[in-house]
């Protein structure tokens, strides 16, 4: 019963993150939405692993790996955004710029 709640929460988080990734113009907010999607998938995966009675260690190890890799991807993305802002002066993508 309990893993089902967390799995459905993970599914909702994935949806919220997808909406943020597609709809928000500011690039930093897209990184946040991307992280929401990632943690939602991890929650879904972890809930699937918690279904059996005993503690299932393999999903947990894979999720820890995933969290660390998500951080390194976010760090690279954030550095790219700062470099983009330094060279063009905007934090949105050029074809989505609604101010010009």
């Amino acid at each position: 019963m309990m893993p089902t709640f967390f799995a459905l929460t993970g599914a909702v988080l994935m949806g919220v993150g997808t909406y943020g990734l597609l709809a928000l113009p500011h690039l930093l907010r897209r990184i946040i939405a991307f992280n929401l999607m990632g943690s939602g998938v991890f929650l879904f995966f972890g809930a699937a692993g918690a279904r059996g009675g005993a503690v299932d260690a393999i999903p947990q190890a894979l999720i820890i790996t995933g969290i660390v890799v998500a951080l390194s991807a976010s760090a690279l993305a954030v550095a790219l955004i700062v470099a983009l802002a330094r060279s063009t002066g905007t934090v949105t993508l050029a074809d989505e710029d609604t101010t010009s």
């Binding site: 967390f6 599914a11 949806g15 943690s39 972890g46 260690a57 969290i67």
Partner: protein, 309 residues
């Protein structure tokens, strides 16, 4: 009783995530994201995954939050063009989001029955008591080795964004901690405690909850606080000690794997007699590398702070 607790926790997680993508400015979104990470860590503890809870709180909420806040500060100082917030719902995105949630929800109920593999026999042979550490550093050591190299690759990608003339500039923004002030006091008081905590987390990861990643993250955070308080001098990329610390973890890991291959058994296989000692060596080297790599990832590429920030 615990059902109500879990339901309330899940509802909280969903509400905070909705607040994260709602309007109101990016600083608000970052703070809500950090809070979301902490609630998620509690959720992991409820699911019985305590190592994951530690990792989510430290890395997912803590370090990612610091990363985003530092970037937000840098962008504000650059005075970029203001972003016009579109009002109203973006319908195609909302449809895609609903489809995604629906698909995952349907997939959950279509999952086959769970079959947990019985690892208890094999874990006794790995030399460690914590099953997650056994999986990370023994059964799936290949994944962890590649993960440490991925961290290094991300750091190299971040460094490549620096200009040629900025290469030797000290990393991180110029901090203005008042000497004798509160931050300097904090920066002197926290590192000893944090160092013990980080080392304890790495050591305890062998038998109970903890691990190299969680301990390494605590050490990285302690280093960042010391940097902010001007207690540690800002590092620069060309320092040899820094580069050695970065490569130490993956290097030791790779060498033990090659050593096992050279001695006749398979690459990265660990004989049960020397398992505990070998895993501990790998963990210590790995946590040093993880600490330095994560701290440098948050600090970003070297930039010229005289002109552009």
């Amino acid at each position: 009783m615990t059902l109500a607790l879990d339901l309330a926790l899940c509802a909280l997680i969903v509400c905070v995530s909705l607040a994260t993508v709602a309007g109101g400015g990016i600083f608000r979104a970052i703070i809500f994201f950090i809070t979301y990470g902490l609630f998620l860590a509690i959720g992991w503890a409820r699911l019985g995954a305590f190592d994951v809870a530690l990792a989510e709180a430290a890395i997912g909420a803590g370090l990612t939050g610091v990363l985003l806040l530092a970037a937000h500060g840098r962008l504000r100082r650059m005075r970029t063009k203001a972003v016009v917030q579109r009002t109203g719902l973006n319908l195609p995105a909302a449809l895609a989001a609903t489809a995604m949630t629906g698909a995952l929800g349907w997939a959950w109920f279509a999952l086959p029955a769970p079959s947990v593999p019985d690892l208890s026999q094999s874990i006794a042979q790995t030399g460690v008591g914590n099953p997650v550490t056994a999986v990370l550093l023994n059964f799936r050591a290949w994944d962890t080795l590649l993960e440490s190299i991925v961290l290094l690759a991300a750091l190299l990608g971040v460094w490549m964004l620096a200009r040629e003339e900025d290469w030797n500039t000290p990393l991180g923004p110029r901090y203005h901690a008042l000497s004798g002030g509160v931050l300097v006091g904090f920066g002197r008081l926290l590192p000893p405690v944090g160092l013990i905590f980080g080392a304890y987390l790495v050591w305890a990861g062998a038998e109970s909850v903890g691990g190299a990643f969680q301990g390494g993250t605590v050490l990285a955070a302690v280093g960042l606080v010391a940097l902010m308080a001007n207690v540690l001098p800002a590092p620069s990329i060309s320092q040899a000690g820094l580069r050695i610390a970065l490569v130490l973890g993956p290097g030791v890991f790779l060498c033990t794997g090659l050593l096992a291959a050279a001695l006749g058994s398979d690459f990265l296989s660990i004989a049960p007699e020397v398992a505990k000692a070998m895993i501990l060596t790998i963990e210590i080297a790995l946590s040093i590398s993880i600490a330095v790599t994560l701290a440098l990832l948050v600090l970003g590429p070297p930039v010229d702070t005289q002109g552009a920030p």
